[in-house]
């Protein structure tokens, strides 16, 4: 029997106090996620239970018990305090998936700081806009990523400390840099976690917007209530599970379900810090006897591409529960996983802003391959008429996915951008920006984004951000960025570019522009295709009509072109 039991019974009369009671929390109490995920678990007699099996490059391995992560997070918290970091300060984590990243999140939360995890493949420009917006006061990073920080340091007056976790002493530390070694630091046995309460800020996750710069999504410690219960009921995490969430904590899944969910449940989890290969992943599952696996459609499709034969080389019989997140899981992937693993990947849906799973397929429920599933108990989700912003009275119509606000993990605002935050609500509904329909049995069916945001491999990329970066290249006069279909990543970035006089389109220039964006923003934002054009379609007022370019890429009807400049 799955943890959730009967979905219908859970939905009826649901109250978040179910989760509060299990966590021993009462409204008004102190609630600190760092403490809940370490000290509390130790207090339940699990101090010697493994919290983290970690594997890195070259076969490196580290293993941490719950007592180890309690001590290590204490040590990080105390170190941050010793530097003068204070509650409410934004402290960035900019690292590969090393143990310091996962434990560092708990350490920051314990001392009352606001954790700002950022994807370590970000280029210096992407890093800069996020650190500048948050007025980040410290960054915890590795030697190789500190090089990017150095490039932008002069523009970041608020950044007081660059904490390098793997300083080897071979090259001298530079301005504002300080070395910290978790292995060499004296463990701090007792640390009084900062008395955060439900609405105290916990994490800032940055997400791309259609226009303007990335937005810092502010979450609070009370998010634990949603993250704990969804990890238990949707991911079906159990006491004896070995859990593997493949997401990077630079993204919301990696913190909600790669740190908070499993560790608040006191389960053993695994982390593989390395690039993707089917063989390496299967070997990892076999070696650690992983039973519960939370991954992404892009990874699943890449495994499909690697073929079925390779699977026969590994014993994957430990797998019990499989789930997926980040983008719609195509029905072929669901059917394939059932064939090769004997279990279907259950698709789950949520966003950086929602903080926890909203609409999902549950263990034990009837799966309709390709469907998003049904709302989590306590979540009121609907499809709105895009003109009236009222729920459609009938099923089957495509509209906007909207959710009634009020669940614990919901964002509280966009950092320094309350105006944009308020625009996310219409008629009392939170607007996700995604389109879908509902069938007669209440299952949601994803259709696509309602804006120009590109979802590539489960990561959102803003066309505006890429276009802004493109015109900084000396050869580029104008650009328009749209999504392009892709069999593995669902969609990828494509750029249409006009060149300045004196420049000629060529294969070398194409590659040069790709690399320019990759290093400036990130590999995700790098156009995987560039088309050099004479001009871009514009309205008579001069606005570039991305939708025309996008429609061509997707083989869709171009629609109304009455405002087209050249018409």
């Amino acid at each position: 029997m799955a943890n959730i039991g009967s979905y219908e019974e859970r939905v009826n009369g649901f109250d978040w106090s179910v989760s509060e009671k299990e966590l021993g929390y009462k409204p008004g109490d102190i609630i600190n996620i760092g403490w809940y995920c370490s000290d509390r678990i130790c207090g339940h007699g699990k101090a010697d239970k493994i919290a983290l099996h970690w594997e890195g490059l070259g076969g490196a391995e580290k293993h941490f018990t719950y007592n180890d992560i309690r001590l290590a997070s204490n040590t990080i918290a105390a170190f941050l305090q010793s530097l003068g970091q204070a509650p409410g300060d934004r402290i960035c984590l900019f690292m590969d998936r090393v143990p310091e990243l996962f434990i560092g999140v708990l350490g920051i939360l314990k001392m009352g700081g606001i954790g700002q995890p950022l994807y370590s493949a970000f280029g210096d420009e992407s890093l800069y806009v996020r650190l500048e917006n948050a007025e980040t006061s410290a960054i915890i990073t590795q030697r190789k990523h500190a090089l990017k920080v150095r490039k932008i340091l002069d523009k970041l007056p608020h950044l007081k400390h660059i904490i390098i976790v793997d300083h080897d002493g071979k090259s001298p530390l530079r301005d504002r840099e300080v070395a910290f070694s978790l292995e060499k630091a004296a463990p701090v046995e007792d640390f009084d976690s900062y008395p955060t309460t439900a609405e105290s800020p916990s994490l800032l996750h940055y997400t791309s917007g259609t226009t303007g710069q990335p937005k810092g999504v502010k979450h609070v410690h009370y998010s634990l209530i949603s993250q704990y219960l969804t990890a238990k009921w949707v991911l079906d995490i159990r006491e004896d599970d070995i859990f593997w969430c493949t997401a990077d904590p630079g993204w919301v899944t990696g913190t909600s379900y790669g740190i908070i969910g499993p560790w608040s449940l006191g389960v053993t989890q695994c982390v593989l810090d390395g690039g993707f290969s089917a063989e390496a992943w299967y070997k990892f599952i076999e070696k650690h006897r992983i039973s519960n696996w939370y991954s992404a459609p892009t990874a699943i499709r890449s495994l499909m591409k690697a073929g079925d034969e390779i699977i026969k080389n590994f014993d994957l019989s430990s797998l019990r529960n499989l789930a997926s997140v980040g983008e719609p899981l195509n029905s072929e992937a669901v059917v394939w996983s059932e064939k090769v693993f004997g279990k279907a990947f259950l698709d789950t849906y949520f966003q950086t802003e929602t903080g926890s799973i909203m609409i999902t397929n549950f263990p034990g429920m009837k799966i309709k391959p390709g469907s998003m599933g049904r709302p989590f108990p306590g979540i009121t989700a609907t499809i709105l008429d895009p003109k009236a912003y009222e729920p459609y009275p009938e099923t089957g119509k495509i509209g906007l996915i909207a959710i009634r606000p009020g669940w614990p993990a919901m964002m509280r605002t966009y950092w320094n951008n309350e105006e944009t935050y308020q625009k996310k609500f219409k008629n009392g509904w939170y607007m996700t920006g995604d389109r879908a329909s509902i069938d007669k049995e209440g299952y949601f069916w994803f259709v696509g984004r309602d804006d120009d945001i590109i979802n590539t491999g489960g990561h959102l990329v803003s066309p505006f951000e890429v276009e802004s970066a493109l015109i900084e290249h000396p050869a580029v006069a104008e650009s328009a960025v749209v999504s392009k279909p892709d069999p593995i990543n669902m969609e990828v970035v494509k750029a249409f570019v006009t060149l300045k006089s004196g420049f000629t389109a060529s294969a070398d220039l194409d590659l040069e522009i790709m690399n320019f964006i990759r290093k400036k923003l990130s590999p995700l934002a790098m156009p995987q295709a560039i088309e050099f054009v004479e001009s871009l379609p514009k309205t008579r007022s001069g606005k570039i009509m991305r939708r025309i370019l996008k429609a061509k890429e997707w083989g869709e009807e171009i629609g109304d072109t009455s405002t087209l400049e050249n018409d």
Binding site: L57, D96, L147, F276, E279, L511
Partner: protein, 82 residues
């Protein structure tokens, strides 16, 4: 070191390793080592195609085939006459 290997190695170090970072060698794991991710593989593939005037089919541009400079050389040689 042969010329092709040298060209690829220099390119990988110039494009995928941060200035001042530890240089990669011919057998350094690139994909499984997290130096080149799956998105960046596209630009590396484009470089090889431009430089060597070849076309590498998508189904052969696998993470395994791109996992080191040595392996990339083997892959490229399959598509070049020399």
């Amino acid at each position: 070191m042969d010329e092709l290997k040298d060209v690829i190695l220099k390119y990988v170090n110039a494009e995928y390793v941060e200035e001042g970072g530890d240089p990669v060698g011919c057998d350094t794991p690139l994909i499984s080592g997290g130096i080149v991710d799956s998105f960046s593989m596209v630009s590396l593939k484009r470089f090889l195609e431009n430089k060597c005037k070849i076309s590498i089919p998508d189904d052969q541009a696998t993470p395994e085939a791109f996992d080191s400079v040595d392996k990339i050389v083997v892959l490229v040689r399959r598509f070049t006459k020399t």
